[in-house]
Amino acid sequence: MSALDWWLLLAVLLFCIGGFGVLARRNTILIIMSLELMLNAVNIALVAVSQFRVGSQGAGVLFALFVITLAAAEVTVGLAIVIANYRNKRTVQADRFDEMKG
């Protein structure tokens, strides 16, 4: 395995850890934190590929910067929604938000 492979393997493992958090935990804030882990994993992959390939012209690095910016926007709106939900239902557990249940 080449050096790039090892970096991509790290990204894969971090992505799956984050995915497990999103699927398994019930606290909505923790789900958002796990989403951040997944975004970080993608950023590692982007930067690694960009740094190891010829002719990428820094596209991966710049794309990682855009991902970081959009992750900041996403976490702001997500936590605002969590707080608005908490104000209405006094809980952050995802399985309590079941108004749409048939």
Binding site: M1, S2, A3, L4, D5, L8, L9, L10, V12, L13, L14, F15, C16, I17, G19, F20, G21, L23, A24, R25, R26, I29, L30, I32, M33, E36, L37, N40, N43, I44, V47, A48, V49, S50, Q51, F52, R53, V54, G58, V61, L62, A64, L65, F66, I68, T69, A71, A72, A73, V75, T76, V77, L79, A80, I83, Y86, R87, T91, V92, Q93
Partner: protein, 170 residues
């Protein structure tokens, strides 16, 4: 070598740090512990960028993730969990399904990764400095750049409106 010399020792240290802290985020039962673990995980990712010779991303990672996002998340925890919500049992029904799913995804992706044989070609790859990167950002990618600033503005206004609540004066 492009992407910096590959130091196996530093890579293993950084990778172990990131993965252990990431597991901590997912597995800690108290959410404050998870948040602190997440901060350390973000620091480790910044170290990974530094190891990859991407100094700009490393600095921005520390500024945005360690500096801003962590504080926002800790504030949200303070506003919601501080009133002493009950802690659920960790091994609930979801994790019975989630754990095999995550492991299966990891195995499948790893198999693809190994079989794809991504070659790191390019002893000729130039490591772009800050000057070249900013030149590319403000020439070729200037439209996405402006669009992202618009998205940030919209997110900011949306967050204020959502978190303010009904009938409160801002």
């Amino acid at each position: 070598m492009p992407g910096g010399d590959f130091h196996p020792f530093f890579f293993v240290v950084i990778a172990a740090w990131i993965l252990v802290c990431g597991l901590g985020v997912v597995l800690f039962r108290k959410i404050v512990y998870s948040a602190v673990s997440m901060v350390f995980c973000f620091l480790g990712v910044a170290g990974a960028y530094a190891l990859l010779n991407a100094e700009l991303v490393a600095v921005i990672q520390i500024l945005v993730y360690v500096g801003a996002i962590s504080v926002v998340i800790l504030f949200a925890i303070m506003l919601t969990e501080a009133q002493g919500n009950e802690y659920k049992l960790f091994f609930n029904r979801q994790s019975i399904f989630a754990a095999p799913l995550a492991v299966a995804a990891a195995v499948i992706l790893t198999v693809f990764l190994v079989s794809a044989e991504v070659a790191d070609v390019g002893e000729t790859s130039v490591n772009l400095g800050l000057r070249q990167l900013s030149a590319i950002l403000f020439n070729r990618y200037v439209f996405p750049f402006e669009l992202v600033s618009l998205v940030l503005l919209a997110a900011m206004i949306g967050a204020i409106v959502l978190a303010r609540g009904e009938g409160e004066k801002p």
